[in-house]
Symmetry: C2
Subunit: 245 residues, 2 copies
């Protein structure tokens, strides 16, 4: 059963154009960023949610252009330059076994990545992730939509936690084999108004065996206001661990 | 400006049938549970998302009946008995000012509580919250829909954080004036399969001035598996603090 499930897990999985090409790394990205699945897995070409759309405000577009330009400019500079690579982002994951039994077909076919589960542009999480070529830092431009409300007019603490988990988890999975979030410790400093654009930056603090310690901060785009700061711990796991649930 | 905003904030606000009737407490619940706004605020009667619907599985229905029965049975027992009260849950918050300026009218009119932003029953967060009459504990029955995916077949760490913030934040707001989440420290022990029902229990650990320390655990409904445990810190704030953003 486990072998069969692993076979299904890997069937059709192909590597991102960026990052490690080892099989271990291929299954390390299970958010859309983490899975890095390609269009060929789907019956039709999936939408890349990290590309600009009409809902993006001026600040979101400006920052996207800024980091994308650094990436494009660096293309001819080799691997020594400090440049950023954009990660594509889809809303589908893999058909998968859990806890030793397969999920119901209905759940399998309808499952969508939490941060990309609403197709209406601008309504919820609008974000794009970049990582630096030495993989010591990730950067996310995040525009918070009106469906993320917590305190009136402000982003829900859970939505902020979701973006922190997404950015740090993607960062950890770029570094090694499949990882699971073990701990998130989040300090909320200042609420984020709905509709605003913020920067989320993650930094690798240290690696100890299977553990990756990553810190993260959410700030205004001009750097003048710190909204949230956090630390995160991820642990590399085996595929069989995942299948056991 | 601030006075006007405060006036608008309180206009139409009425107290829940449960809890403190002071004005301070009225605005302390800004998730739908926290705001506790009544039908009269809206042009039509809002849907109470915490009531059973056809998407609820057997376990969700069984537990709802169990705690609801304890609540109903206790109705004649006076305030000394250990009984539970269900909290209604809507998907709209208040029109509000933020950061000294009003949100755009479009965002105001379209804003929805993050945990109730999808109307399709069973697709995302299905949950119902109860609190014990001494307000020392809250309990939430949570059924995780297919749109909450993180690791394939399992609930996103951010979705779990969202439910923990919701339960502990509602708990803190039952105890006192408006509160803000100051810290969430979450340890993820075991992943939660999509489609499953779990229990989220919060306990008041201590109160120190404006601070409320609450612990929380997410476990399987039979108590055999601990999925997640967390501590949360909430700080009482003034209305003017909220308005400053």
């Amino acid at each position: 059963m486990a072998r069969s499930a692993i076979g299904r897990l890997f069937a059709g999985l192909r590597c991102l154009p960026v990052g490690n090409t080892q099989l271990q790394t291929q299954c390390s990205r299970w958010s859309s960023e983490r899975t890095g699945v390609e269009a060929s897995m789907f019956s039709h070409k999936p939408r890349d949610f990290s590309l600009p759309n009409p809902s993006w405000g001026e600040e979101m577009k400006r920052l996207y252009k800024h980091y994308n330009l650094q990436s494009e400019e660096a293309a001819g500079q080799g691997e020594d330059g400090e440049w950023w690579t954009r990660l594509p982002s889809y809303n589908r994951s893999l058909k998968y076994a859990t806890g030793g039994v397969y999920l119901s077909k209905m759940i399998q076919s309808k499952a969508r990545l939490f941060t990309r589960n609403i197709r209406d542009p601008g309504a919820a999480f609008e974000y794009v992730l970049f990582f630096r070529n030495d993989k010591q830092r990730c950067l996310c431009i995040f525009q918070a939509g009106h469906l993320l409300e917590g305190p009136p007019g402000h982003v829900h603490g859970g939505a902020i936690a979701t973006m922190i988990d997404t950015v740090t988890g993607t960062h950890a999975s770029l570094l090694s084999a499949p990882v699971m979030t073990a701990n998130l410790n989040i300090n909320y400093r200042s609420p984020i108004p709905l509709g605003s654009t913020v920067l989320i930056e993650s930094t690798l603090d240290k690696e100890e065996g299977k553990k990756k310690f990553i810190s993260c901060k959410v700030s205004s785009t001009d750097g003048s206001k710190l909204h949230t700061e956090a630390t995160a711990l991820f642990v590399s796991i085996s595929v069989s661990h995942l299948l056991r649930g």
